[in-house]
């Protein structure tokens, strides 16, 4: 069996910066991820469910399964520091998973 411990990085933030986050992931060498679009949510920065037009007010959830815990931590830290810590709404967290990817 090929199940092995891995870490899933989950980033939920403004749809507007999806591309910027993907670019940052690419810079960090991460090229495999899954994107859930047009999700809604509430947080400390107000309800964000289509109260305005375009991408401004919807959220996006990006999930990245990464083999090494250390790299996962580096990724979440980079994303958090560049985007979530400053100006953009969102949350990020890690989960332990057992992955079956080739």
């Amino acid at each position: 069996m090929k199940l092995r411990e891995a870490t899933k990085v989950v980033i939920i933030t403004e749809a507007l910066i999806e591309e910027q986050i993907i670019s940052l992931l690419a810079e960090l060498g991460v090229h495999a991820y899954t994107i859930f679009r047009e999700i809604a949510g509430e947080g400390t920065r107000g309800i964000r469910s289509g109260d305005c037009l375009g991408k401004m007010c919807s959220n996006v959830c990006i999930e990245v399964v990464i083999d090494e815990e250390a790299r996962a931590q580096a990724v979440i830290e980079a994303v958090y520091n560049k985007f979530l810590a400053k100006h953009y709404a969102g949350i990020a967290y890690l989960e332990n998973v057992r992955a079956f990817h080739h």
């Binding site: 507007l16 289509g50 375009g54 991408k55 400053k86 953009y88």
Partner: protein, 358 residues
């Protein structure tokens, strides 16, 4: 000259025409907590229809006019240069006014300024609808609206966004804020030209020109869709804009004590920019008589006076993330947009008709 009676008719026809009433329905629906919603895919579809329709119609009329009056090319070029000037000037002035008079923070002032300088497709669509109806009413003998004005969109939009962002970032840097944020004018220009709204509009204009020239019968068949449906589609689109405006009314409270001044700015400034636009086009009309109708000046006023609330917010959120969207979004969509279509447009229309004596 317009009589008072005619003016009243203009005002009533505009305010109680279906598009404006559907806009009101949108706002009211939010206030009464109706669950009426326009799905996002439908919103995009309606917007694409309107942009393509404005472009196709403008292109096909432009090609006819250009063949007849080659001098129109000079008019278009001068108007494009004037648009660039307007874009920069409006962003610059609005930013300073918002900061000094309305008391907004630096980031908020310049982010909002970009919205006022940029072009609002929704405002433009309403303007085109009014001008085209006026042209239709008088028949093709008299020139009211040449159709090509919407092509000036990118010439005002991009310069306005770029200058607001650049000035804003410099001002923020001076205050020592967000020194690390990068501004990439090339990227902003790219988004300004190839962003969905302006790109589809301008490309449709080119398509309209080519198709009108090479394939007029096909063009006629195509306009059964893009022409006849325009007014009705505009109704559903404005319903959605009304919903968006209604949802932002609540956010106005974020303006706090500054709300009175923000209100004034949101109402008065666009009127000034609209009038400035009208006067510019009128001067061009005097220089090149017979090539510009009152509807052209009117549509230009909707381009200059309109305050973007779909593409500008996204651009500003990305480029001046320090600014609070709860300042600029409600100002643009819940104050200026309704003011413009309900009060500004009738005034601009009257001014244009008076100038042109129509």
């Amino acid at each position: 000259m317009l009589t008072v009676d005619e003016i009243v008719v203009i005002l009533l026809e505009g305010l109680f025409g279906p598009p404006m009433l559907f806009f009101a329905l949108g706002i009211i629906s939010v206030l009464v907590k109706s669950d009426l919603e326009v799905p996002a895919a439908m919103r995009t579809g309606l917007a694409m229809f309107l942009l393509a329709a404005i472009g196709l119609n403008g292109g096909s009329e432009a090609v006819v006019a250009l063949v007849k009056y080659p001098a129109l090319l000079a008019v278009i070029i001068i108007a494009a240069l004037f648009s660039i000037f307007c874009g920069v000037f409006i962003s610059f002035s609005t930013g300073n006014i918002l900061k000094k008079f309305a008391g907004l923070k630096t980031a908020d002032a310049w982010a909002a300024a970009g919205h006022y300088g940029a072009v609002s497709s929704a405002t433009l669509a309403v303007g085109v609808s009014i001008a085209a109806a006026a042209q239709e009413a008088v028949g093709s003998g008299i020139l009211v609206f040449g159709g090509w004005m919407p092509a000036l969109y990118p010439f005002m939009d991009s310069p306005a966004l770029i200058s607001a962002i650049l000035i804003g970032r410099i001002a923020l840097a001076k205050e020592g804020i967000g020194g690390g944020a990068k501004v990439d004018p090339k990227k902003i220009l790219h988004e300004g030209v190839f962003g969905m709204a302006v790109w589809l509009l301008v490309a449709s204009l080119v398509i309209g020109m080519l198709a009108q020239y090479f394939s007029p019968k096909e063009m006629d068949r195509t306009m059964l869709f893009f022409g006849d449906m325009f007014r009705g589609v505009l109704c559903l689109f404005l319903l959605d804009m009304g919903l968006a405006a209604g949802k932002q009314i609540g956010a106005l409270k974020e303006l706090g004590k500054r709300i009175g001044r923000a209100f004034m700015v949101a109402f008065i400034l666009p009127q000034l920019w609209g009038v400035m636009g009208i006067l510019g086009i009128y001067a061009l009309h005097l220089a090149f008589p017979g090539l510009l109708g009152w509807g052209d000046a009117f549509v230009f006023a909707t381009i200059a006076g309109g305050c973007s609330f779909v593409s500008a917010p996204a651009a500003m959120r990305a480029s001046i993330p320090e600014a609070n969207p709860s300042i600029y979004l409600p100002m643009a969509v819940a104050l200026t947009f309704p003011f413009n279509i309900i009060i500004g447009m009738p005034l601009w229309q009257i001014m244009c008709r008076v100038l042109w004596g129509a």
